[in-house]
C-alpha cells in the first residue's frame, strides 16, 4: 500500500468525536431557558412563517444555478490570475513558458462564453422574479407587472382558509348529529 489508511480512519474518528464532545460540553455550560423564541426555526433573523416543508418556487433553483456557474468561474479564475500575474511579472513557475498572452486570451474566451450564458438567462427573462411556465411564452416586464402578495396578505389568506376548513368540519358534525 502506498498510503497508510489508518490516518484516514483516525481522522474520521476524531472528526466524529469532535461533534459529540462539543455538544456534550455545551449541554453542561449553556443556560436552559425554554422560551418560545428559542425553539423556533432560525431564518436569518426573520420571524419564520409556517412550515419549512413546503414546495419551494422553482425559480429559487434557476437563480441558484446561475449563481453556482459564476461561483465556479471565480474558483477557476484565481489560479489563472496568479499564473498570469507571475508570467507577466517574470517571477514564479510560469517564467519561460510563454504562457502569458495565450492564457490571457484563453481566459477571455472562457469569460465570454460564460457571459453568454448570463446574457441568455437574462434575455429569456429568467432573472425576473415573476414568470410563469404555463402562461404565455414571454412578455416584456411592463406588460406583466404583477406583484407577489405581501407576507400579511399571505397570512390573511392562510387564516381565511383555516376558517373555511373549520366551518366545513362543523357542518359535517352537524349533519352527523342530525342523522
Amino acid at each position: 500500500m502506498y498510503f497508510d489508511y489508518l490516518n484516514v480512519l483516525i481522522f474520521c474518528a476524531v472528526g466524529l468525536g469532535f461533534v459529540f464532545v462539543n455538544l456534550i460540553i455545551a449541554s453542561f455550560l449553556r443556560p436552559k431557558r425554554k422560551v418560545t423564541e428559542g425553539l423556533e426555526t432560525y431564518e436569518c433573523g426573520e420571524e419564520p412563517i409556517g412550515d419549512a416543508w413546503i414546495q419551494f418556487d422553482i425559480r429559487y433553483y434557476t437563480v441558484a444555478l446561475v449563481y453556482v456557474i459564476f461561483a465556479v468561474e471565480i474558483a477557476f479564475l484565481f489560479p489563472w490570475a496568479i499564473v498570469l500575474g507571475e508570467s507577466f511579472r517574470g517571477t514564479g513557475a510560469a517564467v519561460g513558458t510563454g504562457i502569458g498572452a495565450f492564457a490571457l486570451i484563453e481566459g477571455i474566451v472562457f469569460i465570454v462564453i460564460l457571459f453568454l450564458g448570463l446574457a441568455y438567462v437574462w434575455a429569456k427573462g429568467d432573472l425576473d422574479w415573476v414568470l410563469s411556465f404555463s402562461g404565455p411564452a414571454y412578455q416584456p416586464p411592463q406588460e406583466r407587472a404583477r406583484f407577489l402578495p405581501s407576507v400579511h396578505e399571505l397570512q390573511e389568506l392562510a387564516e381565511a382558509r383555516n376558517d373555511e376548513g373549520d366551518g366545513e368540519g362543523d357542518e359535517a358534525e352537524e349533519n352527523e348529529e342530525a342523522a
Binding site: Y2, G98, A101, F102, I113, L116, A123, F133, S134
Partner: protein, 509 residues
C-alpha cells in the same frame, strides 16, 4: 505562445463545433426565436464545415497509417479511431436536426435551444471519443449527459417527457458518481489518469501502473475497473444497467430518442473500446495486465449474452413501436459487446463495423417511427395496420431497415453480424455466438410484426399525406443500408484503420 497554438489545428473540428453552438445560441437570442428553422439551417451548414474538416483530418491520418497525435499536453488524442466516430456523430447530428425539422408535432418557433443542446452534446462526444485521459473522458461524458438530460425533457409541459428527463438525471447522476469513484480509485492506485501509462508501466518507477498493483493485491484494482465499466454499461444500456432505457426513450421527443439511441450509445461504445483497448491490449502492455484483461473479456461476454437475451425477449411483448425499438437497442448493445469480448484487434474492428451499420439502420428505423407518429398521432404497432399501401416508399424502405436490424442479407446489418460471429468463434466464444444466433431468430419475430402490420393487413381507410422530402431522405438512408451491405469494402477498411490507430497488439495471448 506558438507552441500552444501549434496543436490547435488538430482540434479544429472541435473548435468549429464549439463556435457553431455559440453562434447558434446568439442567433436564436438575437432573432428572439422567431423562426427556429433558420437556426436549424445554420446548424446544418456548420456541421457541413465540421464534416469537411474531419474528412481532411481522416485523409491525413489514414495517409500516416492512423498514427495518433496528442494535443494539449496529451489530454486530447487525435487518431483515426476517434475521427471515425466523430464523422458518424456529425452525420447523425445532421440527421437528427433534419428529423426535428420534419417532426410534425414540434413547434416551428422558439426551439433554438433544441439545436444548441444537440450541438453541445456533439461537443461532448467529440472530446470523449478522442482522449486517453480519464479526466477529459469524464468531462466529455458529462457534457453529453447534461445536454441529453435537458433534451429528454424538452417538452417540459408533457408529463412523459418530464418523467423521462427526471429518470435520466437520477440514473445518470448515480452512474456518473459510481464511475468517478472507480476513476479516483484507479488514480490513487496507479498514480496516473492516462490509460496508456496505466497499462504499460511496469511498477519500477512513477507512475506505478496496474501491473505492480495486480502483483500486490488485485482486489482494489478489480473493484475500480468494474466500477468504471458499470458507468460505461449504463451509457450503452447493458443489462443490468438498462432500466432507464425504455422509459427515457419512450418519453423523450422522437428526434432526441434517435440521438440517444444512435449517437450517444455509439459514443459510449467508442469510449468503452478505447478504455479496454488502451488498458489491456495496447502494444507493450505488461503481461500480468494482459492476463487480467482476458478475465475482463469473459465478464463482458457474460454481460453480452444476458443483455441480448433480455433485450430481445422484452421487445417481443411491446405494443408501442418506440418502446420496442428501445429494447431492440439494448439487444444490439449485446451484439456489439461480442466484438469487445473477443479482445482482439479484429474483434474491435468488427464492433466498429457493426456500430457503423447500427448508425444507418437505427437512424432509418427511428425516422420511420417519426414519420408515422406524424401520420397516425400514435406510436402503436397496431396503428400501422395497412398503412404500407398508403405510404409505400417509406414502408418498403422500413422493411430494408428491419431486414438489416434482424441481420439478414443483403444489408449492412447482416455483414456486421457475420463479422461479429466470425470473430467471436475465432476468439473461442462459440457459446456466445450460439446465443447471439438464437437471439437473431427471436428478433426476426418482433421486427417482422411491423412489416406484417404494414403490408399483410387490409389497406387502411385513412390516407397518409405525402411528405416527399422526408420520404426521399429515408430512402437515402435505406439505399445506404443496402449499398454498404453489398460493397462492404469501404466500411471495413475504415474500421480497420480505426482499430489500427489504437495500437492494439496482434494476438495478445
Amino acid at each position: 505562445m506558438d507552441r500552444y497554438l501549434a496543436d490547435l489545428g488538430l482540434i479544429a473540428p472541435e473548435l468549429v463545433l464549439t463556435l457553431l453552438s455559440l453562434v447558434v445560441l446568439v442567433w436564436d437570442l438575437v432573432t428572439k426565436g422567431r423562426d427556429s428553422r433558420q437556426v436549424a439551417y445554420l446548424s446544418l451548414a456548420g456541421l457541413g464545415v465540421v464534416a469537411y474538416l474531419l474528412l481532411g483530418q481522416w485523409g491525413d491520418l489514414a495517409a500516416t497509417g492512423g498514427k495518433a497525435e496528442t494535443v494539449a499536453f496529451g489530454m486530447v488524442t487525435i487518431d483515426a479511431f476517434g475521427t471515425f466516430f466523430k464523422l458518424f456523430t456529425v452525420g447523425s447530428l445532421a440527421v437528427v436536426i433534419l428529423f426535428v425539422l420534419a417532426d410534425r408535432r414540434e413547434r416551428k418557433h422558439g426551439i433554438g435551444e433544441y439545436y444548441f443542446l444537440l450541438l453541445g452534446a456533439g461537443i461532448g462526444v467529440f472530446f470523449m471519443v478522442s482522449t486517453n485521459n480519464l479526466l477529459l473522458l469524464m468531462l466529455g461524458l458529462e457534457l453529453l449527459s447534461l445536454a441529453s438530460y435537458s433534451l429528454a425533457g424538452f417538452h417540459k409541459s408533457e408529463r412523459r417527457s418530464a418523467e423521462a428527463s427526471m429518470k435520466y438525471v437520477i440514473f445518470g447522476g448515480l452512474s456518473a458518481g459510481i464511475m468517478l469513484y472507480g476513476i479516483s480509485l484507479l488514480y490513487g492506485l496507479t498514480g496516473t489518469i492516462d490509460l496508456n501509462e496505466m497499462g504499460i508501466a511496469d511498477g519500477s518507477g512513477w507512475p506505478v501502473g496496474l501491473a505492480a498493483q495486480f502483483a500486490q493485491d488485485p482486489v482494489p484494482v478489480a473493484v475500480a475497473i468494474v466500477l468504471i465499466l458499470a458507468g460505461f454499461a449504463y451509457k450503452v444500456s447493458v443489462v443490468p444497467f438498462h432500466f432507464w432505457t425504455p422509459d427515457v426513450y419512450e418519453g423523450a421527443p422522437t428526434p432526441v430518442t434517435t440521438f440517444l439511441a444512435v449517437a450517444s450509445k455509439a459514443a459510449g461504445f467508442a469510449v468503452l473500446l478505447r478504455f479496454v483497448g488502451a488498458l489491456f491490449l495496447v502494444e507493450g502492455v505488461d503481461s500480468t495486465v494482459a492476463a487480467y484483461g482476458e478475465r475482463i473479456g469473459l465478464l463482458i461476454a457474460i454481460l453480452a449474452a444476458v443483455t441480448m437475451t433480455l433485450g430481445n425477449l422484452s421487445a417481443l411483448r411491446q405494443t408501442s413501436m418506440k418502446r420496442m425499438l428501445a429494447y431492440s437497442s439494448i439487444a444490439h448493445a449485446g451484439y456489439v459487446l461480442m466484438g469487445l469480448a473477443a479482445m482482439t484487434p479484429a474483434g474491435f474492428s468488427a464492433a466498429m463495423f457493426y456500430l457503423a451499420a447500427y448508425y444507418f439502420m437505427n437512424l432509418g428505423a427511428f425516422g420511420f417511427l417519426l414519420y408515422f407518429e406524424g401520420v397516425n398521432k400514435s406510436e402503436d404497432i397496431d396503428a400501422l395496420k395497412g398503412m404500407g399501401w398508403k405510404a409505400p416508399v417509406v414502408s418498403i424502405v422500413m422493411v430494408a431497415f428491419l431486414v438489416s436490424l434482424t441481420g439478414l442479407p443483403p444489408t449492412v446489418g447482416f455483414y456486421g453480424k457475420l463479422l461479429l460471429f466470425y470473430e467471436g468463434v475465432d476468439a473461442g466464444l462459440g457459446w456466445l455466438v450460439l446465443i447471439a444466433a438464437l437471439n437473431s431468430v427471436v428478433s426476426l419475430f418482433y421486427y417482422f410484426r411491423i412489416a406484417k402490420a404494414l403490408f399483410l393487413s387490409e389497406p387502411a381507410e385513412r390516407e397518409a399525406e405525402p411528405q416527399p422530402f422526408f420520404t426521399g431522405f429515408l430512402a437515402l438512408l435505406g439505399v445506404g443500408t443496402i449499398l454498404f451491405g453489398i460493397y462492404t469494402e469501404p466500411l471495413q477498411n475504415w474500421s480497420e484503420t480505426g482499430t489500427d490507430s489504437l495500437g492494439i497488439a496482434e494476438a495478445s495471448e
